[in-house]
């Protein structure tokens, strides 16, 4: 097939993008601006799930989730579980979504990140750290808005033949 392994982006770009997304996730914002802080790690994960579904999926999502757990000093495994499901779903719908217009893609991204948020909230509910403020449900919306930005940022500068 045309999209052979030679068409993968180098691994350091993938890992680097996750690191940068992690930094953006813990970037201090004011209380009001914090409501509109998208989940960058989830966005980057979904990007790679969409464009390199053979390589990036649930497993990579789990790793990204553990990374996020480390970053925000919460209970280990909480984000890992959520990102695992998120990565799996994104991976499954990637072929269809790739051919959709950007705004439809961002709607799907919003749903995926809402599922992610829902899982984290559920785990927190079970762990007696209930945190169901309205504010956290702004994250999927903010992420939807930021999806085109992620698309532009992570697009290869010099697309090779056969790469979208």
């Amino acid at each position: 097939m045309l999209l052979g392994s030679s068409n993968y982006r180098p691994l350091w770009i993938v890992v680097g993008s996750f690191l940068i997304a992690g930094c953006l996730n813990i970037l201090p914002m004011g209380i009001m601006a914090g409501y509109f802080q998208p989940d960058w790690v989830a966005l980057v994960l979904i990007y790679w799930c969409f464009w390199e579904p053979e390589r990036i999926g649930a497993g990579a999502g789990w790793c990204a989730g553990i990374f996020l757990d480390m970053l925000d000093y919460g209970t280990f495994g909480k984000h890992a579980l959520a990102k695992l499901v998120c990565g799996f779903l994104a991976n499954r719908i990637s072929l269809r979504l790739r051919s959709y217009p950007v705004w439809q893609q961002s709607a799907a991204v919003g749903v995926l990140i809402a599922i992610d948020t829902l899982i984290v909230a559920t785990v927190q509910l079970f762990l007696d750290e209930p945190n169901l403020s309205i504010g956290r449900w702004c994250t999927p919306l903010a992420s939807m808005v930021m999806w085109p930005v992620v698309l532009i940022m992570l697009k290869p500068a010099f697309p090779r033949h056969g790469f979208r």
């Binding site: 970037l27 000093y73 495994g77 909480k78």
Partner: protein, 283 residues
């Protein structure tokens, strides 16, 4: 999936993962440092931009405050000696003093919408889990996670954080519970005939042994009597500037050594203190 569920359970219910956490905290310290660069730069600019008259003003204020504090310090040392003597007469165990260390906030956002902070001291400075954290005004919270150079602090307003307190006016014991709002605390399980009023000061009672005795926690904002409910509805306001403090104090309770008492003297003192609070639910 199973792995993460197991991981969540292990981490939530045991302490076995704390070395892993310490290591992971160490790994991400450089990333946090990277994130800090913009805010540090902003602080540096702000520090440069301050004018000489302003600085002189601040200096005068600080000098005045220092003078006042020193005068009060003189009183405190004599009062302390007196207090110790009186407690010896009562054969009560003397109260330990606390060693404190200044720590600075690390300006990164942790779990969104949770009431927690990151400070720049960790295991390498002997910070321990459950360590009380204070600021210049009162109790801020306790250390809930440590790594080598960082620790996470859960504020007293974090949902699930409970502080054993007592009313300063009459010594009535209760506890304050965080409800996730940075300016509110709940004081549950108070009978309708409890002597508690608006404006009362709540201080730490020292029960449970986690928070040292006598630090201000909150003032009572409202006391509502609802005839349909068995308990009062009491809302308190934290005294510590939870959202504004840039420096916090980590306390080592009773770290300065004290003369050792006989065990039965301690029992007597416990009886004495618990005698006047008949109707407080357990800790």
């Amino acid at each position: 999936m199973l792995v993460s569920v197991i991981l969540i359970n292990i981490d939530a219910h045991t302490n076995t993962l704390s070395p892993v956490r310490a290591l992971s905290g160490l790994l991400i310290t450089p990333l946090q440092q990277l994130v800090l660069i913009p805010s540090q730069f902003a602080q540096w600019v702000a520090g440069r931009a301050i004018s000489t008259p302003e600085l002189r003003d601040q200096l005068t204020q600080v000098k005045n405050a220092n003078l006042q504090l020193r005068v009060r310090q003189q009183q405190i040392s004599s009062l302390q000696a007196e207090n110790q003597r009186l407690r010896q007469l009562l054969s009560a165990s003397p109260r330990g003093l606390n060693r404190v260390m200044l720590a600075e906030l690390v300006d990164v956002s942790l779990e969104p919408y949770s009431q927690s902070l990151l400070v720049n001291k960790g295991l390498s400075q002997e910070v321990f889990l459950g360590q009380p954290v204070l600021d210049a005004q009162g109790v801020m919270g306790q250390v809930v996670q440590t790594s080598y150079y960082r620790s996470a602090v859960a504020l007293i307003t974090d949902p699930g954080q409970t502080v054993p307190v007592m009313i300063e006016r009459n010594g009535f014991r209760a506890f304050s519970v965080g409800i996730g709002q940075s300016d509110q605390l709940d004081v549950p399980y108070l009978n309708r005939n409890t002597d508690i009023r608006k404006g009362d000061l709540l201080i730490t009672s020292g029960m449970g042994g986690r928070f040292p005795y006598g630090y201000p926690v909150a003032t009572i904002r409202t006391v509502t009597v609802d005839v349909n409910e068995p308990f009062l509805r009491v809302i308190a306001e934290p005294i510590a500037k939870l959202n504004y403090s840039r420096e916090v104090l980590l306390a080592w309770p009773g770290d300065i050594p004290e003369p050792i008492d006989t065990p039965d003297a301690i029992v007597v003192s416990e009886k004495q203190t618990s005698g006047d609070t008949p109707n407080v639910a357990g800790q």
